[in-house]
Assembly symmetry: C2
Homo-oligomer: 512 residues x 2
């Protein structure tokens, strides 16, 4: 048997998690003399001392729950004995009080990217096909297959063609207040730097989201100027074959231009990296997410842009984030996004506790508070310089909170709409996640998952739990992998298999 190990995070914690695969049996004695008085599964918590009924259960130095009954030292602390705390009140938060001494700038790091006319830099060279309405998606998917088969071989510098499918555009309450989210998102999606500014739009003709409205966008977007011949309206075409031919003609024009793009060496400050976690376990907050946080700090030190997201996983740690806001305005924007989501969930008659999954719980996460503490570790230590509503594009570099649902597919789509050119996705339990528009680096929180899914997981942070690597080690390793993948020197597994999620744009407004 391996040596019994636990991980305690902060000095004041009164619980720690069991490291060993398959957990540890009752009677196990750790090096420090602590003895388990019941079996504890891997990743689950053990009481480091007696905890009286009503007393706080502390992990990450934060109260993640209250004891429902007296808990003896060496007990397994699971959901049954844990009372979830209420969410932090939004009106009594400290804002911009934590003056972080900026870490020294990191100079000299570069990657090989595609410089666009608007100054942005892509990591891939992709033809994105925008659609104003879901009704055209069958046709666009049909044409995309022909492009892949017949046209892409003629344009070897182009990495692929991606129909920007969504379920929006008609049969929706387009004047609902929340409709700003999908409209803005589909608009900004077209501008993702990986599409090189080569925008073409397929429209049906009678849809609610008329191309003019999509291209104009919302009050907070920059209108898209589309060449007249880059809009194909299916209702103007003489039959299906004519539609296909017309779309192919327009696509080929863009492919010719995309094919002229060449990678060039650019500073790492041109990167826009999204951070996400999914299928989290108790190790996520100890190994993978802190490593991502460290890499995030490195990127910020390079002058790059880093987004973290997932409102329902940030909500219970908001009191740790508002102090890190760069100023009052940013702090208030953070609170505004939390408030919006509280109301969105309340309208559906649920609250933030709806987030945790059976897998999270099996992995040792008792509730959303504990999950949130692990999730926000992805944000590192940098000041938060900007807050984006879902689908907005950043105007600053540095650490940015991009408000999105925590749902993996929706967060992914929304970060792409916000302009990320690479995503880092950490997972505890494992998920075959991938995005067609930007490369995704998948990091597991434990080695066992990386070993089992050897052809899906790109990097493991598991050595941290075993004491074989530090957060800094893995953080640097991830940072270099980000530069390699951004440059096209390394291909993550999702791109190897072309294993991609359907694009799930967030529509918080009703369908009609």
């Amino acid at each position: 048997m391996n040596k019994p190990l636990f991980i305690k995070i902060k000095e004041i914690d009164n619980v720690a998690i069991v490291v060993n695969n398959n957990g540890l049996p009752k009677g196990t004695i750790f090096d420090n003399g602590l003895q388990l008085i019941e079996d504890v599964p891997q990743g689950h918590k053990v009481a480091l001392n007696d905890i009286n009924q009503g007393q706080a259960i502390v992990r990450y130095g934060e109260t993640i729950g209250y004891a429902k009954r007296d808990i003896k030292q060496g007990s397994w602390i699971n959901e049954a004995v844990t009372q979830m705390p209420t969410a932090p009140e939004l009106h009594e938060l400290e804002i911009a009080t934590k003056k972080v001494t900026p870490l020294p700038p990191l100079e000299g790091y570069t990657f090989e990217g595609y410089r666009n006319k608007d100054g942005s830099v892509g990591t891939r060279n992709i033809l994105g096909i925008t659609m104003s309405v879901n009704c055209v998606s069958g046709v666009v998917e049909y044409v995309a297959k022909i492009i892949e088969r017949d046209l892409l071989p003629k344009y070897p510098n182009v990495d692929g063609v991606v129909p920007l499918t969504h379920l929006y555009g008609c049969g929706v309450a387009i004047d609902a207040p929340a409709a700003i989210v999908p409209i803005r998102s589909i608009h900004n999606l077209a501008k993702n730097p990986n599409f090189g500014g080569e925008i073409m739009v397929i429209s049906l003709g009678c849809e609610k989201l008329q191309p003019e409205r999509l291209l104009k966008g919302t009050h907070d977007t920059i209108p898209i100027k589309l060449a007249n011949d880059d809009l194909v309206t299916l209702q103007d075409e003489h039959g299906f074959k004519a539609m296909v031919d017309h779309i192919l003609r327009v696509a080929e024009k863009h492919l010719q231009r995309l094919n002229q793009r060449k990678r060039e060496t650019v500073p790492a400050s041109e990167l826009i990296v999204g951070m996400q976690c999914g299928g989290s376990d108790a190790f996520s907050g100890v190994t993978s997410n802190p490593s991502v946080g460290f890499a995030s700090d490195l990127l910020v030190r390079c002058g790059a842009t880093v987004m973290f997201s997932e409102v329902t996983e940030v909500r219970d740690g908001i009191h740790l984030l508002t102090p890190r806001a760069i100023d009052e305005e940013v702090g208030k924007a953070l609170i505004r996004e939390m408030q919006w989501y509280d109301e969105y969930l309340a309208a559906g008659k649920v609250d933030r506790s709806a987030n945790t999954t059976p897998g999270n719980k099996k992995g040792g996460l008792n509730n959303i508070v504990e999950k949130a503490m692990g999730s926000i570790a992805k944000s590192g230590t940098s000041p938060i310089v900007e807050v984006l509503s879902p689908g907005q594009r950043p105007t600053k570099k540095g650490l940015i909170f991009a408000a999105t649902p925590a749902s993996d597919f929706v967060c992914g789509a929304q970060q792409v709409a916000s302009g990320i050119t690479l995503q880092v996705f950490t997972t505890g339990r494992g998920t075959p996640y991938g995005l067609a528009m930007v490369p995704v680096i998948k990091m597991s929180s434990r080695n066992i998952v990386a070993e089992q899914w050897f052809d899906l997981i790109d990097i493991s942070a598991g050595d941290i739990a075993l004491g074989k690597a530090t957060i800094e080690d893995i953080g640097w390793r991830l940072f270099h992998l980000i530069l390699d993948v951004a440059s096209g020197r390394k291909q993550p597994w999702s791109d190897h298999w072309k294993l991609y999620n359907p694009l799930a744009i967030f529509n918080p407004a009703p369908v009609t």
Copy 2:
């Protein structure tokens, strides 16, 4: 120039619509002496007499609006001069008051269908792959391509493989009251008769919608008994290639059984046909939808099941439907579904007026009231024998109201979940709609659309507007086409091109 024509529907109507392509110019004199005092576009309304400010504008014998100002005979009646009426109050409706003398039964009509063990009859022979969560969709799509390429040629009696993709299963508020809709729908989707009872489920492992929960379903579903080896859990697999191989093995077992299925002659009473309209114009309610209504009556007379749907398009005609309820219970269920949708829309700060599209308006439909009158024509004249909440399966034969959004994609997915084996889709403006699970017959309201989209539209009802055919003629033609397509004797255009919508399951609950 063609002879000027208008269509007046009911004797008491004070408006009629212009039939001629491209509309009619000011000065046009009709056979009855009516003279246009301004240009009127095709499908748009002309005032048959002077209508004073505040007076009702009547079409279909119903008030579709009130005159905002005095309107002279021969004027164009557009949105600008029309005040929309309020929706019918739900607490003062007549229920089951209209005792319809049943039309005589139609005997002897049959089709060639696939009889299932549970007694249901399919019109196609398809392997449907159920997923408990969106996270597995990339893998399932990957495998489906391999099945198509390598396995289907070995099983020539199988028509295809369809990944039952959805955006549900995790990152959702699974205990929200409205979560019953997607859970029930994904559950019942697996039971669609076209899949022959050959159910296999792909799960990730850590998702909220655990396979047990999906298979158990909701209080109103019949639990699915799944063989142990028909569940593949990706987190249990040793890497991606192992996942693919495992899914292929399970798929092949089902393909072998599906390949044994043979079409046999069954009575038309075994049909379950869904009716939907999309991209409607002013002709939809005059030509295509009444023809669908006539065919619906024919099907009901054969003892078959017919579903109509689209709550927001029924809401303003609900006072015409509750009297047609077979009994008090069905009438109350109709009202319950309207009420649910009123509240759903109100939670999103909109109302039923959010339905009409720019295309509807361009096509002559001023508002949702006028659109609704045309939409409910699809229901024919039969009594309404049952009402289904979204995704429920019918327990009766005859005319059924299956509550769904009007959104084409969502209505399609929900009707498939409710068990339709064929859909009739009428369109005014034209849309390249198609479903992978059931054949879709697309009918246009005008000949010009069928001529322009000659390789997409299966049948036109346009001759009705020209006086060259009656509603009965086209209704019978559609009825025979339904039997031919159900039997596999005729292939609709969507199947010819394999032009299919992404499956859009209705999730009225929040994402998290």
